[in-house]
Amino acid sequence: MSLEFLVASTIGVLVAAGIYLCLRGRTFPVVLGLAMLSYAINLFLFAMGRLVVDRPPIYEKGLSEHADPLPQALVLTAIVISFGMTALVVVLSLRTYLETGTDQVDGLADQEPDEGEA
């Protein structure tokens, strides 16, 4: 199994899971879905610098092929931003749950309180 196939299918599965969870009605799965999506994006950005093995990051004597250092910087920025955003959305949905008494994304009350996962 090639590296490309492994990375591509990992990204695909993460994105699929992320989209599925984002479309759920409650805030907790949505938060998880956003986290999944951001992991997928981080991997994707990383792969956009091409998948290479055993290459120096910027410069080394006698080698003409290099790993692209820019996507790594981009991924670092994206990780920081998505981490902060996830923290924010967790706090926000918790606060909404405490104030409105429901964790539905659309803010509507549950039909029956003890129904469990609808």
Partner: protein
Amino acid sequence: MNHLIVAPVVLPAIIAALTLLLRWRRWFGAAISLVGCAALLLIASALFARACSGAISVYALGQWPAPFGIVLVLDRLSALMLLLTSILAIIVLCHAVVTRLDRKGWHFHPLFQFLLVGLNGAFLTGDLFNLFVFFEVLLIASYGLMLHGQGARRLKAGVQYVVINLVGSTLFLIGIGVLYGVTGTLNMAHMAGRIAGLPAGDQGLAGAGGLLVATVFALKAALLPLHLWLPRTYADTSPAVAALFAIMTKVGAYALIRVTTLVFGADAGGLAWLPARWMLPASLATLSAGFVGLLSARGLREQAAFGLIGSTGTLLVAVSLFEPRAMAAALYYLPHTTLAGALLFLVADLVARRRPDYGDAITIGPRFANIEGISALYMLAAIALAGMPPLSGFIGKLLILEAATAHPAAGWIWATILGTTLIAIVGLARAGSTLFWKSSTCAEAVRPTPAGVEIKELLPSIALVILMATLVVGAGPVTAFCDGVSAQLFAPRTYIEAVLGTSVAR
């Protein structure tokens, strides 16, 4: 190198830190914030004066030369957006301070200033990933501002707003990743050159990346079918904040204009004017949906939110023709629609503050304080938003209609713009006559005016009206300037050469 270009980003950041440090003295924070906005207005005016000559100034952050480092670029369009932002910011801030909105929570001023950092940065940057970062800065600040004052309704709308924007940011990153993977650069000027020389096999991938990025900008600009988040968010936040958010849909419009004219311009071969095909029908539909929503709105804030969607739709109709005259018309309409949308939100706030029992609901209620002045302001706001003479919306729509005559879809454009204008007039007249006319003959006893409500609250709204009147009186110079902006946008070579230097432009 002239450091003034970076000032619109640095100054609000410093002011934000100061207001955060000194927040236990409420009046002090407000004073610093106001002084900061005034200074920002001066800086923006100076930059505007410099850009007027047509020169494109480039500021390389950390002295790293262009394709390697991040650059801030000041051209006419950026200068126009900076000036508009600083004017709107100072007026909205005055309104917030006078109505004591900033005292309803602890962090109004820092969040307000960070929003300005994000806005100014997004208008100045010449780097696609940096644009993403500034989008995030302005979004994070907007989440906080949107929730300012709290309440269950606001929190519910807030969760939806945050989630939709996080998904948008994810899409933006995918788009950037694809474009970087294909072109190997993030600098927009550099990318323009790379896209123009792209082998045929890579064009599909680059097109997909470009369309993904355009989708995110359309989401920010609330283009149909990505507009559903806007009415609830803007109607449930405090009106003064919503008035400032009137510029945020224009950030989406700005980014669409910038990326399309620069990266996917006439030189891009098979990818030339990539989003245009989708943008025109989408913006016509947005225009209709916005003004029909305005007709059905039950509250003034909801009405203003739909009005904002509709007028941004009008703006994007003109933009999506991607033709110099239509672009000039759009750029004349852009400041107008921002100011008119903000004015309607401020008037909604004035009404809601005086009717504690009814809020901004469009229902008949007893007379309230300053009803004469506020009804006059509402009428002017309605005239502006619908685009009737004598205010600037009329000239803007006229220019757009005139520029669209030669287009193959001219019939659709004319019919939609004129039809929606009629719908807007009906909707606004209905709301105005219910709120002011019928209320003034209402038999119910007049309620005592709530404490802290003063007539000076009307001043920021009056300032907005004066600005729109200035746009009419100065229509000659303003349209000449807009022609200049448009000419600069449709000659991206000067921009590319200014950023990369003449030798490496290709």
